[in-house]
C-alpha cells in the first residue's frame, strides 16, 4: 500500500452530523423465513426465521452472528438472488422479486474477471445495464480514482495485491450506483493493516456519498467502528436477537471510534450476546 492519507474527493465541508429525523426506509425485511430443501438424504434446513429489519436512507447497519446463522442468506434475499419462503423483502418500498438495479453486493471474494483489466472489471455491471461506452468510461475512471486505483486501470487482476483487488471490487460495486450496498465480510480475507486502511476508506466513502449499506461481518470491532446500528443474530435458525444502536460520533473515522472507551463496551455486549464471553465453551 502506498501510504497516501489523502482524503477521497473534495474537502469535507459537509461532514457535520445530519440531524436525527425520520429517514426514508431503503431496505426492509418483514417476517422473513428462508428454508432450504434438503438434497438427497439431508434434512431441509431453516436458515433464517422471522427476520424483520429496516435500514434507513444513508444508514449503515451491521449484522453479526455465529457462522451458519444465515447472514449470507439475508444478503442473497436482499439482492433478489433468492426468494423468501415466508414474509417479504422490500427495497425502496417495492417488493424484491428478482435481481434489480437498486442493490449491489460485494463479497469476501473479489470476483474480478481475470481476463478483464481493472477498468473493464469496474465497468462490468454498467456494461450489462447497457450504459454507453463513454458513460461507462467516465464512471469507472471516477471510481477508480476515488479508490486509489487510477494507476492500475489497465492492469489485470493477477497483477494486483489482495487489498487492491478488494478495492477494485468495491469500485465495481459503487460504480453501479446502488441505493443499497450489501457487503458480505468484504475485508475478512485481508491482512490486519490492509483491512484497517480499507475500512477507513470505505467508511469515508460511505459517509461522503451518503450511501445506505448492510454490512455483514465477523469482526465485532469492525461492526462497531463502521456502523450506526448492529443487529445480532442467534445460531441457526437465525433470527435477530438484539439491536444495538452505536451512539458514537464520526462514522467516517473508524480509528477514532475504535479508540473511544464506549466502543469497548459495545463489543463486550456483543460478545456476551454471542456467548463469546464464556471462553470455556469456545470450540478450539
Amino acid at each position: 500500500m502506498n501510504g497516501n492519507a489523502q482524503v477521497i474527493g473534495e474537502t469535507p465541508a459537509t461532514a457535520c452530523p445530519q440531524p436525527e429525523r425520520r429517514r426514508e426506509t431503503r431496505l426492509e425485511f418483514r417476517g422473513v423465513v428462508k428454508r432450504f430443501a434438503g438434497t438427497g438424504r439431508q434434512e431441509p434446513v431453516t436458515a433464517v426465521t422471522n427476520v424483520s429489519l429496516k435500514v434507513g436512507e444513508g444508514e449503515v447497519v451491521s449484522i453479526i452472528g455465529p457462522s451458519g446463522c444465515g447472514k449470507s442468506t439475508l444478503l442473497n434475499l436482499s439482492s433478489g438472488l433468492d426468494k423468501p419462503n415466508e414474509g417479504e423483502v422490500l427495497v425502496d418500498g417495492s417488493l424484491v422479486s428478482g435481481p434489480n438495479e437498486h442493490v449491489a453486493f460485494m463479497l469476501q471474494k473479489d470476483l474480478l474477471l481475470p481476463w478483464r483489466t481493472i477498468q473493464q472489471n469496474v465497468e462490468f455491471g454498467l456494461e450489462i445495464r447497457g450504459l454507453s461506452a463513454k458513460e461507462r468510461r467516465e464512471r469507472s475512471t471516477d471510481w477508480l480514482g476515488r479508490c486509489h486505483l487510477t494507476n492500475f486501470a489497465h492492469a489485470y487482476p493477477r497483477q494486483l495485491s489482495g487489498g487492491m483487488r478488494q478495492r477494485a471490487a468495491l469500485a465495481r460495486t459503487l460504480a453501479m450506483d446502488p441505493d443499497v450496498i450489501l457487503l458480505d465480510e468484504p475485508f475478512s480475507a485481508l491482512d490486519a493493516q490492509t483491512k484497517m486502511i480499507l475500512q477507513r476508506d470505505l467508511a469515508m466513502t460511505l459517509v461522503e456519498t451518503k450511501r445506505t449499506a448492510l454490512f455483514i461481518t465477523h469482526d465485532l470491532n469492525e461492526a462497531v467502528s463502521m456502523s450506526d446500528r448492529v443487529l445480532v443474530m442467534s445460531a441457526r435458525p437465525g433470527t435477530i436477537i438484539e439491536e444495538i444502536v452505536i451512539d458514537l460520533p464520526d462514522r467516517d473515522k473508524p480509528f477514532a471510534r475504535r479508540a473511544d472507551p464506549k466502543a469497548n463496551r459495545y463489543v463486550a455486549r456483543m460478545m456476551e450476546l454471542l456467548g463469546l464471553d464464556r471462553l470455556d465453551l469456545l470450540p478450539v
Binding site: L81, P114, W115
Partner: protein, 277 residues
C-alpha cells in the same frame, strides 16, 4: 490462488539480464542434447553390431530423406498429412466445443447424452478406420474422420467441466446486474472456459496426428502413413524412419501452433514457470 504468489509473478521480467543469461544456457543445453542423441544414433548401431536394416544410422536416414524428397515426392505426402491433421483437428475441436458447451449448460442434455458419448469414447476409435475406408474409399475423408473422433473427446470433456465449475458467485454477480443467460454465457462462462479449452486443444493437436496416421496406414495412397506402409513393404527401414520423424514434426508444428494461439488468447494469465511446453 494465493495473492502473494500472484503478486510475485508479475515482475519476473524485472529479474533482468541474469535470468536471460540463464535462459540462453538452457537453449544451448537443449541443442546439446539433440547433438548427443544424434551422435549416439549415428555410431552406436555400428559399434553394437546392429545391422542397418534393423536400425539405420542417422546419416543413412538423412540420405534416404533426400532421395525420397525427389523420387517419392515426400513434400506432397507431408502436405496431404498436414492438411488432414489440420482439418481433423479443426472439425473435431469444433464439435467438441459445441458438445461441451451444450452439455455444460444443460443438465438435461448431459443426462440424456452422456452414456452414448462415454460409449463412443471407450470404443477403440482406431478400429473404426477400416470401416471408414470401406465407406468412403481411398480418400482423405476416412483419415479426417478418425482424427475427428479422437480429437473430439478431450476437447468436449475439458469444456464441459470448465463450464460446470465456473464459480457460482461470479454467475450470481452477473445475475444481480440482471444479465441474460446469453450475457452470462458470453461474458462469464465462455471466457472462463478458455484455459481448460486450450489444455484440451493441446492434447487434441497430438491426437489428431495419430488419427490421421492410422487412417493413412489402413487405406490410401498418399500421406506419411502411406509412406510408412510403403517403406515397410519395400523393407526400406530408413524410409520408415523418415516417415516417423516427419510425422513427429507435423505433430510438433500442430502442438506449437496451439501454444502460440494460447499465449495470445490467455495473455492475462500468469506466465507458466517452464517455457516451451
Amino acid at each position: 490462488m494465493t495473492n502473494a504468489t500472484q503478486a510475485s509473478a508479475i515482475d519476473r521480467t524485472a529479474a533482468g539480464s541474469g535470468l536471460f543469461a540463464w535462459m540462453r544456457w538452457d537453449y544451448v543445453l537443449t541443442v546439446l542434447v539433440a547433438v548427443v542423441v544424434l551422435a549416439i544414433w549415428e555410431y552406436l548401431p555400428g559399434l553394437a553390431g546392429i545391422p542397418s536394416f534393423i536400425l539405420p544410422p542417422a546419416s543413412m536416414v538423412w540420405k534416404e530423406f533426400l532421395r525420397a524428397l525427389v523420387t517419392e515426392r515426400l513434400v506432397g505426402h507431408v502436405i496431404h498429412t498436414g492438411l488432414a491433421v489440420l482439418t481433423g483437428f479443426a472439425l473435431g475441436s469444433l464439435l467438441g466445443m459445441v458438445m461441451g458447451y451444450t452439455l455444460g449448460l444443460s443438465r438435461r442434455a448431459e443426462f440424456i447424452l452422456s452414456p452414448y458419448i462415454l460409449g463412443l469414447q471407450i470404443a477403440p476409435k482406431v478400429a473404426f478406420a477400416p470401416l471408414f475406408v470401406m465407406w468412403l474409399g481411398y480418400t482423405i475423408y476416412p483419415q479426417i474422420l478418425v482424427a475427428v473422433l479422437i480429437v473430439f473427446f478431450p476437447v468436449m470433456v475439458n469444456v464441459l467441466v470448465a463450464v460446470q465449475t465456473v464459480d457460482a458467485d461470479l454467475i450470481n454477480l452477473a445475475r444481480s446486474c440482471s444479465a441474460t443467460r446469453s450475457e452470462i454465457f458470453w461474458k462469464i462462462q465462455f471466457p472462463a472456459s478458455m484455459p481448460p479449452l486450450f489444455s484440451g486443444l493441446r492434447v487434441a493437436s497430438t491426437l489428431a496426428v495419430i488419427g490421421v496416421t492410422v487412417g493413412e496406414l489402413v487405406g490410401g495412397n498418399t500421406g506419411l502413413g502411406y509412406v510408412l506402409v510403403y517403406g515397410e513393404g519395400q523393407a526400406n527401414t530408413p524410409l520408415v524412419f523418415v516417415a516417423i520423424v516427419l510425422l513427429t514434426l507435423v505433430g510438433m508444428v500442430a502442438y506449437f501452433a496451439v501454444i502460440a494461439a494460447e499465449r495470445r488468447v490467455l495473455h492475462y494469465m500468469p506466465k507458466p514457470a517452464a517455457q516451451g511446453f
